[in-house]
């Protein structure tokens, strides 16, 4: 039966054709053309290998060939980078053309006849491959790219089994470059496709990665001895079609065919980048991006990609109960009983029972914990860090008040962006690359209020706090005028704004400003009020109302339940309070605890995550949790039974039913639900009313993230992230020992 199925599941090109054509059509509707009669770009029809195909005008020939289902080998062409046209591998034959043409650099012409599978084409590609292989070392057995190398794959078809080159001096030799603790270089293998250069130039904004020399002497490098300092540098490893740029932490650890792929969601920032977790046995071996045009395109930040080694260190594997000043391992039964006894002993009642959720808490656990605490008679559900223990400034009654309403792809449509108290480069690195893309290709203007930051694009600096915002609202300055004239203006408010002294005043000014400009900022198509969260759990926490009531926030808790909460202020917890920590790492929260309950990390549980735009995504477990660790909501469910307030769900589907009761969006996956204009306006009205009596102190809006590489317990436990901190944040030598070893193998 199974054999029958796999034999029948040959890929068909029809599906791909229709999808590409349709998506291209929709993507080009907004393009401006010179023709005054029609704003729609025309489609053109051509023939590829005898098959008629229709593509939008202005497409490259390689796109037309792909749409027709013909596979074109390529090294330098990449869907998300500018076209270079320098590898010549994508040669095809076009009728009435004397020579084969590079299909990436040739526009698709209506009515032309293209052949991708003729002897001429094969011979031409074999010639190109021969030149590429002439200088490529025979490293495959010791090369980390082996098994997923484009050159290896394509040489199976177009490569020759022997060489006609017998140079006296041997093959070209190039010195390796030191690009930092993430990207390992082996420059002999480079085929000069320049994908890394184009990526660094266009997407990452590192404009000093480039080429020097010509012909055989062409080299890729930073011109001077320098590391590649970018939050997206790991993506050049993916882009490199050969093994010239490989992953340093993953070097010689596994081969791709040994790995199990699990498609999941990243939680180390609030974007919810789609990732693929590659695991072997019980270990996560690497994390790769997963293409999703609605969220992260094809990129992920270095923290998402390389913090996985933190999952191996500092883990809580068994329940721990504090005895005197040391932790003693306990059984689950004993630990849960200790929690119940502790609650009784602490004498906490009502709002004195506090639950604090951290950045990495999943939605199911938040719902279960809120239900548990509410059943114990408390409303004291807080978030860690900043002013999480107080009711949030923006309120949680209207989701438009705490979400990135413009959506992540929508940010590209904005023609003026004001950043308030945020540095998207550190808070959402992939979103930052979208802003850069838009800034490069359209006339986007960016303004910034808050601490100065090295974003990857130019901006007009308006000032450091609420005073500058008042000037902006009053229309002073050139950027304010640009903003007034913009058709799709966008204000991105950092999540840290609410945590600062002037936060309410800033929110008040912005809410009023949006209301005043509602015909441009609040329309059915466009909502220009966007809050950029930086913690994966916060959008979900606000969505389910995991915030304290005013009365609860004023209570001094006697029993504190920390759910993944590691940003808590130890001074805020009274010494006689009973503290329970539930989480996966022995970080700050666990130090404060009287009982530690080991839970699963994000790679070990298939839970729901809500990103900053309100997109609900389902993660997936790749490996089992270590030791006695369990999924978070199960721990809370078990505890509820010991505490005598049994929660009414026994499996994860029942928890999701409960989530549906709280907010139906929590079970609608992979979509963003827009807020209607009326509701969004009402929300801003409530916000303006609640913050109207605040005074401006003029204090500068501080940046929340000083060190991009270490923001949560996983990345703090990661060796790679510690090396990045040394190399990029402190400017120290990141790994003397490793460099000495590498030099020895030279």
């Amino acid at each position: 039966m199974l054999r029958l199925v796999s034999a029948a599941s040959k890929p068909s090109s029809a599906g791909r054709l229709s999808r590409v054509v349709c998506s291209n059509c929709s993507a080009t509707i907004g393009r401006r053309t010179l023709a005054s009669t029609s704003a729609r770009s025309a489609d053109i029809t051509l023939t590829v290998d005898g098959k008629e195909v229709t593509v939008p005008q202005g497409s490259a020939l390689i796109q037309a060939c792909e749409a027709a289902g013909a596979t074109i080998p390529r090294f330098c062409y990449h869907d998300r980078l500018a076209i270079a046209g320098n590898c010549r591998m994508c040669l095809v034959e076009v009728e009435r053309s004397p020579k084969p043409v590079a299909s990436c650099a040739m526009p698709a012409m209506p009515g032309s006849k293209v052949f991708t599978n003729t002897p001429l084409v094969h011979e031409a590609r074999e010639g190109v491959m021969e030149f590429l292989l002439a200088n490529h070392p025979l490293d495959c057995p010791i090369c980390d790219q082996g098994g997923e190398c484009d050159l290896q794959d394509q040489s199976m078809r177009y490569g020759s089994d022997r060489s006609r080159f017998h140079e006296v001096y041997g093959k070209r030799a190039v010195e390796n470059k030191d690009l930092g603790p993430l990207v390992k270089t082996s420059m002999n293998r480079c085929i000069q496709c320049t994908r890394c250069v184009r990526f660094a130039n266009e997407v990452a904004g590192v404009e000093d990665l480039g080429t020097t020399g010509r012909g055989n002497d062409l080299q890729i490098g930073m011109y001077v001895e320098k590391m590649m300092d970018s939050e997206l540098s790991g993506n050049v490893v993916d882009l490199c079609p050969v093994g010239a740029l490989t992953s340093k932490p993953y070097a010689f650890h596994a081969r791709p065919w040994e790995l199990k792929n699990t498609e999941s969601v990243d939680v180390l920032d609030a974007l919810g980048s789609n990732i693929r977790i590659d695991s072997r046995g019980v270990q996560v071996m690497r994390i790769q991006p997963r293409t999703n045009d609605a969220v992260n395109e094809e990129w992920i930040s270095d923290k998402a990609r390389y913090a996985y080694d933190g999952l191996k260190f500092q883990r809580l594997t068994t329940p721990l109960v504090k005895d005197g000043d040391r932790f003693v391992p306990a059984t689950w039964e004993a630990a849960l009983q200790a929690v119940a006894d502790g609650l009784k002993r602490s004498g906490a009642t009502g709002d004195e029972i506090q639950a604090v959720a951290g950045q990495l808490a999943d939605t199911e656990a938040l719902v279960a914990l809120k239900d548990l605490v509410n059943r114990l008679g408390s409303d004291n559900t807080a978030l860690d860090g900043g002013r999480g223990a107080a009711p949030p400034v923006a309120g949680v009654d209207v989701r438009a008040n705490f979400l990135l309403n413009a959506t992540i792809p929508g940010v590209e449509r904005a023609d003026a962006i004001l950043l308030v108290g945020t540095n998207p480069r550190h808070e959402a690195a992939v979103l930052n690359s979208r802003i850069r893309k838009s800034w490069l290709h359209t006339g986007l203007e960016v303004g910034l209020i808050g601490a100065r930051a090295d974003t990857a694009y130019g901006y007009e600096y308006l000032g450091d706090g609420a005073r500058a915002l008042a000037d902006f609202v009053a229309g002073k300055g050139t950027f304010a005028k640009t903003f007034q004239a913009a058709k799709r203006p966008l204000i991105i408010i950092g999540s840290a704004v609410a945590e600062q002294e002037d936060g309410p005043a800033v929110y008040n000014a912005l809410a009023k400003f949006v209301e005043k400009n509602k015909e441009r900022m609040l329309t059915p198509e466009w909502n220009g009020f966007a809050v950029l969260q930086r913690a994966a759990s916060h959008a979900a926490a606000y969505e389910i109302g995991f915030v304290p009531s005013k009365h609860a926030a004023a209570t001094r808790p006697k029993f504190v339940y920390l759910l993944n909460a590691d940003e808590v202020d130890p001074a805020a917890i009274s010494p006689d309070a009973f503290v329970v920590y539930q989480g996966h790492h022995g970080d700050l929260g666990a130090q404060l605890a009287d009982v530690c309950l080991p839970a699963a990390a994000y790679t070990e549980k298939g839970m729901t995550w809500v990103n900053t735009e309100g997109r609900v995504q389902l993660g997936r477990a790749a490996v089992p949790p270590p030791g006695a660790a369990r999924e978070d909501w199960k721990i809370i469910r078990a505890l509820s039974e010991v505490l005598g307030v049994t929660l009414p769900y026994d499996d994860v589907l029942a928890v999701r039913d409960r989530m549906w009761e709280l907010s139906p969006t929590l079970v609608r996956y992979d979509v963003t639900e827009p807020t209607s204009v009326g509701v969004a306006r009402a929300g801003l009205g409530v916000l303006a009313e609640a913050t109207k009596s605040t005074k401006v102190s003029g204090a500068p809006l501080a940046r929340p993230i000083a060190n991009f590489y270490q923001t949560d317990p996983i990345s703090r436990a990661s060796v790679t992230m510690a090396q990045c901190t040394r190399a990029f944040v402190r400017g120290e030598d990141y790994d003397d020992a490793a460099r000495a070893t590498e030099a020895a193998f030279g």
Binding site: A27, T71, E263, Q288, A294, L440, G606
Partner: protein
């Protein structure tokens, strides 16, 4: 309808009645008592009736462990490996299982070989279309979750874009 399903239907048809009869005799489940929905209430309703499924659960005769029915499968289209430019196997729809919580890995103390209590950990099945995958899951009696594929949005690209005149201040210095 795929070739496979046509073939499978043709293969299954003679055995269908037999398996039903067997199940009613040996297990006396309600399967044999199931009658087509009686349309007693002819009143017009906003809610469309759930159509009767045309598949018979295979695990009555397949001998698969009963626990398998308690594990949901995910039906999804694997995305392209970002390390490679080829798009092979992207068109397929895959069924695989979530890991068994607590069914982790076990190491043989003698040889150090690793094994697992999860009997589905190495299994994944590919189908030509989503419908085929759903049909298969229904036939096996598995709960399934279909993850919709993301829409692809690659704008038309052109070599000449590298040389287009930009009216405002130059924002990029190309080093390629």
């Amino acid at each position: 309808m795929s070739v496979f399903r046509a073939g499978a239907d043709a293969l299954l048809r003679p055995t269908l009645g037999r398996s039903l009869a067997w199940s009613s005799r040996a297990l006396s489940t309600e399967a044999s008592d199931v009658k087509p929905p009686v349309e007693a209430d002819k009143a017009p309703s906003e809610i469309a009736p759930i159509p009767q499924k045309d598949v018979v659960t295979a695990d009555v005769v397949s001998g698969a462990p009963a626990e398998l029915r308690h594990r949901a499968v995910r039906i999804y289209q694997p995305t392209r490996n970002t390390m490679q430019s080829g798009g092979a196997k992207m068109e397929r729809w895959r069924i695989d299982w979530d890991i068994l919580p607590g069914g982790g890995r076990w190491e043989n103390p003698l040889m150090g070989w690793a094994s697992s209590a999860d009997y589905m950990q190495g299994t994944r099945i590919s189908f030509r279309s989503k419908e085929d995958a759903i049909h298969f899951a229904e036939k096996q009696g598995w709960d399934y979750y279909v993850q919709p594929p993301g829409a692809k949005n690659i704008p038309p690209k052109n070599y000449s874009e590298n040389f287009v005149y930009k009216p405002h201040k130059l924002r990029i210095a190309r080093t390629k």
